[in-house]
């Protein structure tokens, strides 16, 4: 199975704000193979969750315009009606959200919620109870009987996230979208959940779209990485290339801002400025360069080729700025 599981081409998402469309994602290209973990990294406001919601068809169609093409197993998703979306939402794509407490129904027992994920798509399905119990034990919960009779509030954050994963897995999806799956969890629980996701992914040969802002999580989990800034892809590479040979100024700045590898006597690199507001995003430029004050104006304002530049096999970067980029203190 080497075919593309998910293929997104030139995906743009515009939100209607005060009667005008503002672009949140600009011409995004991303593809996921069976059994591959693709990480989508960026700060809040970069558009990573917006992309996940387009794949799941969760945008409000009155206020949002999604263009381009998203194909899942060669079926086009953009333009589907709500009802058509239902046929594969939760069936061929499962989603794990950041906050399990607000994504689980507080009035339903855990076992019933997982069962619902199965029966809502297949009313005739048999042996639902056995399948639910198998799912609960698959996500590493030992006390299956008791947990299936409990309510979400009775479980810890880590347990709830396991239940979310069980629901996402209920119909054996080809693609799992995990949107910040461990951000709300403690470090030790985060490690357990990440190991669990990895284990399940290898067992079922599913593709994973992992959305996170945590570079540590990316380094632990991903096969390939797409770095986003302000609705644009700035760099795409295999995980080892990205961490060992980062090219784009944004990627390099992020890695330099990480405190875990810095001596406590040295100053951290803080990226000056903030992410631009939606209405200020001019996607013909490399928007990150605005946050590199020592570049000359012509370079910051230069129009950038829409197509990413190839650095090496499988490694692509936006614009030309990376070729001569140096941090101010290294100049």
């Amino acid at each position: 199975m080497d075919g593309k599981l998910l293929e997104a081409k030139n995906v743009s998402v515009d939100f209607r704000i005060d009667g005008q469309y503002q672009t949140a994602i600009h011409k995004l290209n991303i593809s996921i193979k069976h059994g591959e973990v693709v990480a989508l990294v960026g700060e809040s406001g970069s558009g990573k969750s917006t992309f996940a919601m387009s794949v799941m068809g969760l945008h409000n169609s009155d206020q949002t315009r999604v263009t381009g093409s998203i194909k899942l197993n060669d079926n086009e998703l953009i333009g589907l009606s709500e009802r058509q979306f239902d046929a594969y939402r939760g069936v061929s794509v499962g989603m794990i959200f950041q906050d399990p407490l607000s994504s689980l129904n507080p009035l339903m027992k855990i076992g019933d919620q997982i069962a619902e994920a199965i029966t809502v798509h297949d009313k005739q399905s048999k042996k639902v109870k056995q399948r639910v119990q198998k799912l609960i034990s698959d996500v590493g919960i030992v006390d299956v009987q008791r947990v299936s009779q409990q309510y979400p509030h009775e479980l810890s954050g880590g347990m709830r996230q396991r239940v979310m994963i069980a629901i996402a897995l209920a119909n054996e999806p080809d693609l799992i979208i995990a949107d910040e799956p461990t951000t709300a969890l403690d470090a030790t629980i985060q490690a357990q959940i990440l190991d669990l996701i990895k284990e399940i992914q290898q067992k079922k040969n599913a593709g994973i779209l992992l959305i996170t802002h945590d570079l540590g999580v990316v380094a632990e989990m991903a096969d390939t990485v797409t770095v986003m800034y302000a609705g644009q892809i700035v760099e795409q590479a295999r995980v080892s290339d990205l961490f060992n040979h980062p090219k784009h100024p944004y990627t390099r700045s992020l890695l330099r801002a990480d405190p875990s590898e810095v001596n406590s006597g040295d100053e951290l690199y803080a990226i000056p400025g903030t992410v631009p507001a939606l209405k200020d995003m001019d996607h013909s430029k490399d928007l990150f360069l605005k946050r590199v004050p020592w570049l000359d104006k012509a370079e910051v304002e230069a129009t950038v080729d829409e197509k990413l530049q190839k650095v090496s096999d499988g490694h692509y970067v936006r614009g030309n700025a990376w070729q001569n980029f140096e941090f101010l203190e290294d100049l």
């Binding site: 540590g216 875990s260 951290l268 990226i271």
Partner: protein, 329 residues
């Protein structure tokens, strides 16, 4: 180096009441017999999972929580109860920065009013710095001047005074929170997860800034966090907390390079590393620690009801303390 705060055998219990007469039947031991010292001009890190009691210690220090027993000493004066805190005007010396900048700044007040609040309560010290025991002015023009000076220190423009919290990003709001904390010239700032809600690039701004004011003014921090990467960068000394008890305490170097307690090792092994090539190795190591943690619990914990209770700390070097089972016990 001199001692600024000493905490001795601090206990904070929450009573559990049951039955018809609402009698106290048991206690939740949120903080269970904790002792440590914060040196002036240094940063002390408190690390633990949610529910371990680290925030409760921070709150007891600033007076938002009443200790059940134990002592808090500030420069030798006892400040355990609110009455004792008042007697030496302690509240101007200890300020707090909260995790969630959104909910800790009043949305209906301008930034100028927010930062002026502690100045109105305690007066404007003559200089900006750590600690000030001289005359304080309550003059409105002095207050306004000081607000502008504080904004400048945290790198925000003067027009900020007339704006409201919602007009700022998370990183800017967090710096406003720090400006407010700085206003009274505190000697100690309790920072409770100050950067955990921030993006990496913004987190770096706030951390650099905290280090800068420490260098310039000699302020001490009690830095509460569950992010070991940040803690390693920020702190001089660390205590690792689990279920209301310290399991290990030492210099940052002791903890990161010579961890002894299984719980500390478990926390350290869970830090995701940016080194992609060692990923499988790390996962295997993590599994090994995890199984040692579950199988070998008796060596590290005694049972106390349903919770694992760490043993008492014993020194293994001059700076490094670990809660291990005593030989022959």
């Amino acid at each position: 180096m001199s001692e600024l705060v000493r905490i001795e055998n601090l206990k904070v219990y929450y009573p559990i009441r049951t039955g018809f007469f609402n009698r106290v039947t048991d206690n939740i031991k949120a903080v269970d017999n904790i002792s440590f010292t914060i040196e002036s001009g240094q940063t002390y890190g408190l690390v633990g999972e949610s529910g371990s009691g680290k925030t409760t210690i921070g709150k007891s220090l600033v007076g938002l929580e009443d200790p059940t027993s134990g002592k808090i000493l500030f420069e030798g004066h006892e400040v355990t109860t609110n009455k004792q805190k008042k007697a030496i005007n302690y509240n101007k010396d200890v300020q707090m920065v909260f995790q969630d900048s959104q909910s800790s700044l009043n949305p209906r007040k301008t930034i100028g009013e927010i930062i002026a609040e502690p100045l109105k309560n305690f007066g404007v010290p003559n200089v900006i710095g750590a600690g000030y025991d001289g005359e304080r002015s309550f003059d409105q023009t002095k207050i306004n001047e000081r607000v502008l000076a504080l904004l400048k220190i945290v790198g925000l423009p003067a027009q900020t005074v007339a704006q409201y919290p919602f007009q700022f990003s998370g990183g800017q709001r967090q710096r406003i929170g720090v400006a407010r904390a700085l206003a009274t010239n505190p000697r100690l700032i309790v920072a409770d997860e100050p950067v955990s809600a921030l993006d990496l690039s913004v987190q770096a701004q706030v951390l650099n800034f905290m280090k800068k004011i420490q260098r310039e003014y000699g302020i001490s921090f009690l830095f509460i966090s569950h992010d070991l990467g940040v803690v390693k960068y920020m702190t001089d000394n660390i205590a690792i907390m689990h279920n209301g008890r310290f399991v290990e305490m030492g210099t940052t170097n002791d903890i990161f390079n010579d961890a002894q307690h299984i719980y500390t090792k478990r926390l350290l092994s869970a830090i995701p590393s940016l080194d992609v090539s060692k990923r499988d190795e790390k996962r295997a190591y993590r599994k090994r620690i995890e199984s040692e943690f579950t199988q070998n619990k008796d060596a590290y914990y005694q049972q106390d009801g349903l919770r694992d209770r760490a043993y008492d700390l014993e020194p293994i070097t001059k700076t490094h303390y670990v809660a291990l089972k005593k030989e022959g016990a």
